[in-house]
Symmetry: C2
Subunit: 222 residues, 2 copies
């Protein structure tokens, strides 16, 4: 019982911090996107492609990992700003941790900031990070049954990116079935099947990102 | 600070429950194996193959999921006993939950019981479930860098099964590099690269399972 009460209290405090961070990002005119997926679904590969495809946008990445600097190194090699966050074993990012990471960014350098959350389909979905949008990735090798097993993350995400589309011939993954299952949980979710390797579907995803950025900056009065 | 203290206390209570469950399973002569992986790494497919390959062994599966009965249905269709556990949003199984699931098994029916933990590389590694052995799965599409990012689960596992080996031609995954990284974290870990689809490597894994079962039953005086 005590555990449940504590969890509720932590969540309420987190929600306040998340709202404050969102307001601060709105003032700055920087769109912060919380990117969630299983380990190895291709978050960093997708971001690398977006950074290369949108060189004028000003993109930065907050890399949350339990350990290593592998991903931040890959992002920096592309010339984008990267901040590595080590979560000390924590299985998700909360708003306080995200705010601390955002403060490490060079002020005014980026307009679009991605929080690459810890690889996990469960815990990250339970915490508001303060991001304006949440985007989840599901990769083809993981299977089209994931909406049935991990419903919350599909419900909490504004967009679902289905990655590794080039691997479709080798796996028993039905894109239409996956889309139906996700839409049943969240009728408003935007869905983008892509291959960061071949570039298939990337233009639609990138258009959505740029439109979301434009909307956000209009809200900030820029 | 309170959160940390509570966590320590919960863990201590969990460790006592885990030791009691392990002792009970030893008396019964049933080997309980905690199977952990990311979502979609192929736990159920691997178990299905093992059940078909070892029809005389008496295998049961405890399926832990946040939602759905997809996996338990697949196991039952093979004639093995399956218990579906819904974790009510919990991202891992602890010893108390595992003990409850074990009590739902038909007494004396199985000698080898698998706990298919919630798909997550982080939280399950932090809790002793009371299983005699922990086995983790890493699938080829997830990438060979996972030991660098999720070290704890590699440290806590007795064996690592590298699955979807048939997908090697389509992904940039170096088996030797992955083995080196895992062994660096845990020199004693047993590693089995397999494809449940083609059967490659399954004989070695199944031999290890049967030897572990024999050792366990000798310890139980059977």
């Amino acid at each position: 019982m005590k555990v449940i009460e504590l969890h509720a209290s932590v969540t309420a405090g987190n929600d306040r911090e998340a709202a404050a961070l969102r307001e601060e990002m709105r003032r700055q005119g920087t769109l912060l996107i919380n990117l969630m997926s299983s380990p190895g679904a291709g978050k960093t590969t997708l971001l690398s492609r977006i950074i290369r495809d949108l060189p004028e946008t000003g993109i930065s990445v907050l890399e949350a990992d339990i350990a290593s600097t592998v991903d931040a190194g890959r992002i920096e090699a592309l010339g984008a700003e990267a901040v590595q966050v080590h979560t000390d074993g924590m299985c998700h990012m909360d708003a306080g941790m995200t705010a601390e990471a955002v403060r490490a960014l060079t002020p005014g350098r980026s307009r679009l900031a991605f929080l690459e959350n810890v690889g996990n389909l469960i815990c990250p979905a339970e915490y508001d990070t303060g991001a304006a949008l949440s985007v989840m990735i599901l990769s083809v090798p993981e299977g089209d049954d994931k909406p049935l097993k991990y419903p919350l993350i599909f419900q909490k995400s504004d967009a679902l990116v289905i990655t590794k589309l080039d691997a479709l011939p080798y796996f028993d993954f039905q894109v239409e079935k996956c889309i139906q299952r996700a839409k049943k949980l969240n009728p408003k979710i935007c869905i983008f099947p892509v291959s960061a390797k071949t570039g298939e579907g990337m233009a639609e995803l990138e258009r959505w990102l740029l439109e979301s950025l434009k909307d956000w900056q209009e809200q900030s009065g820029r």
